[in-house]
């Protein structure tokens, strides 16, 4: 444990630690809704789509700033969402195929642009690729400040509109019937996913951020049957993964923080699958064994009872 406190004593490590925790928290919260809406892959696509958006934003401004990247990623996310919608509406393709096409083409475009930037005349380009594919170690205080603002924004919106987000996740048709602008609420959810993606770009990168949108939410579902609890747990699992990722990668040399964070989230997931009450594998085994035992016991009682009755009858 001393290792843990020496890590926190280093101000740089402290920023990275809090940064990764915040990222895990916000992606866990918003990921719960995308998972329940069966749109986990949409989060993945939006994350990949962010790459060309960020590249174009950088090419236009020449500045490496989270704020500008957010605008670029959001615009790219909107184009990607429309692209997915257009393909599913106007072709015979199902949504998964549409997602695959949009994801890979946006990511391909992003890589092309990134190479172009690296070989081009962009003075400030140093480290943009590392930034986009995650380099938590490079995070500084101001980055974490920006991430805090974004996470606070995301969590506040989710808390204020909890009721609406719950409703459109469970029964969007009924929500429409009540007069809610479901399309607008869905767009807002998408925007929040983009916010989480951009907040996480520096720490884990555009590829692995999808894991933090999906894994904590799926893990949390194993522990509860209530949406509110699930969201809090998912945020906590995400934050825990971020904390574990930073701690482990800081204690072993040459381990990257982002991927270790994702692996930590996976470990939480495996534990949840095994140990979750009701849904967990162990709980299911125990329940089965208990049902079997009580069934056998009942049978036994029945047998002895009927046996005794027979004895009594013969004796009487």
């Amino acid at each position: 444990m001393s290792n843990f406190f020496t890590m926190l004593a280093d101000p740089n490590m402290r920023w990275i630690f809090f940064g990764c925790m915040l990222l895990g928290l916000s992606s866990g919260v918003i990921g719960s809704f995308t998972y329940l809406r069966k749109q986990s892959l949409v989060g993945d696509t939006l994350a990949h789509a962010a790459l060309p958006g960020i590249c174009i934003a950088f090419m236009l401004t020449g500045v490496k700033s989270i704020g500008i990247f957010l605008i670029g990623a959001t615009l790219a996310g909107i184009v990607a969402t429309f692209g997915i919608g257009y393909i599913t509406r106007h072709s015979r393709l199902k949504q998964d195929a549409a997602l695959g096409i949009v994801l890979s083409s946006f990511f391909g475009l992003g890589i092309v642009l990134l190479t172009f930037i690296q070989h081009g005349d962009y003075g400030n380009q140093a480290g943009l690729d590392k930034f986009l594919f995650g380099q938590a170690a490079a995070m500084v205080g101001s980055d974490v400040m920006t991430m805090s603002v974004m996470s606070a924004f995301l969590v506040t919106i989710c808390a204020l509109l909890f009721k609406q987000f719950k409703l459109i996740s469970f029964d969007p048709g009924f929500a429409k019937g009540l007069g809610y602008n479901v399309g607008l609420l869905e767009q807002l959810l998408m925007l929040l996913v983009v916010v989480a993606v951009v907040a996480g770009v520096q720490a884990v990168g555009v590829v692995l951020i999808a894991a933090l949108l999906i894994t904590p939410a799926v893990s949390a579902r194993y522990w509860t049957n209530r949406l509110g609890t699930m969201i809090i747990l998912s945020g906590a699992f995400g934050a825990l993964s971020g904390a574990l990722g930073t701690w482990i990668s800081s204690s072993v040399s040459n381990l990257p923080t982002g991927p270790v964070t994702v692996l930590a989230a996976t470990a939480v997931f495996v534990l949840s699958v095994l140990l979750g009450p009701e849904r967990g594998l162990l709980a299911k085994r125990i329940l089965q064994a208990r049902v079997k035992r009580s069934f056998l016991k009942e049978n036994e009682v029945l047998h002895t009872a009927s046996g005794e009755r027979m004895k009594g009858e013969t004796a009487g």
Partner: protein, 273 residues
């Protein structure tokens, strides 16, 4: 608004003003093919209305378009004489049970409480008053003991009753129900019928998409026969006839027992087998 456009004979609606639901020329198309064409009708207040027609006739589509859930390519929907948008609070809705994922992390009471969201505004959460009312509605459909039950652990019929309770909580005057009787157990069927009668007693108007021709006579005051276009609409006695059904269903009615469709009023009202 104007009494002149109320249909003659609809005295209750005429004296009060506008009909609970007046639809004029409603048309819907998916892709290029119209699935609903120029549907026009006006219902009387306080009636139970069955929407009948073969598969693919546009029954659910009509309800969804009337509620504004899917875009119509033409037509007008008036609820108590005003546009749908301004009258949302007067409308209750029971979607098809299969339209949602019942493994969603929530319990029965929570689902019922969703019916109160419309009048709570944007930021208020349901409070003690809403919870008491929701429990009351759950007990009206015989589900009071299941309030805390995770919804995936309910049977199909129980899930349907939760949806009905949610519509009751909406405290509406005009209800749309999309196949509430589909695939439910006998207890649920009975609960739904009791509920429909109760709603009628309270003067509410209920429009029900229905599949089972054998029970139409028994359940509904009026029927609306639909097959892309409106085939017939009127009191069950005079509209739900062998002739009209043949017309609506085309050749597809042959598998039905004509006896269950009681041609005239004579065989009607009696008990079901």
């Amino acid at each position: 608004m104007s009494i002149s456009n109320a249909i003659p004979g609809a005295s209750a609606a005429a004296t009060q003003g506008a009909s609970p639901l007046a639809i004029n020329g409603l048309s819907v198309a998916y892709q290029k093919k119209p699935v609903l064409r120029g549907v026009t009708f006006e219902v009387n207040e306080g009636e139970l209305i069955g929407v009948i027609g073969p598969n693919g006739a546009g029954k659910s589509t009509m309800i969804k378009a009337a509620l504004g859930l899917i875009p119509a390519i033409g037509g007008e929907v008036l609820v108590y004489g005003k546009s749908l948008k301004s009258q949302r609070r007067l409308i209750g809705y029971v979607p098809q049970r299969e339209s949602v994922d019942w493994d969603f992390p929530t319990n029965a009471l929570d689902v019922v409480l969703m019916g109160t969201y419309g009048r709570l505004g944007w930021y208020r959460r349901p409070g003690a008053k809403e919870k008491a009312f929701a429990l009351d509605c759950l007990s009206k459909v015989g589900m009071a003991d299941f309030a805390d039950r995770q919804i995936s652990q309910l049977s199909g019929g129980q899930q349907q009753r939760v949806f009905l309770a949610r519509a009751l909580v909406q405290d509406a005057k005009l209800y749309f129900m999309d196949e509430p009787f589909a695939g439910v157990d006998a207890a649920t069927e009975k609960a739904i019928i009791t509920l429909l009668q109760e709603l009628k007693r309270q003067g509410k108007t209920v429009i029900v998409v229905h599949h089972d021709l054998a029970t139409v006579k028994q359940y509904f005051d009026s029927v609306l026969l639909l097959n892309v276009e409106l085939q017939a609409f009127g009191p069950t006695e005079t509209t739900f006839t062998q002739e009209q059904l043949q017309h609506t269903y085309g050749g597809r009615l042959s598998f039905l027992d004509p006896g269950s469709l009681a041609v005239s009023g004579a065989g009607g009202g009696g008990g079901r087998p």
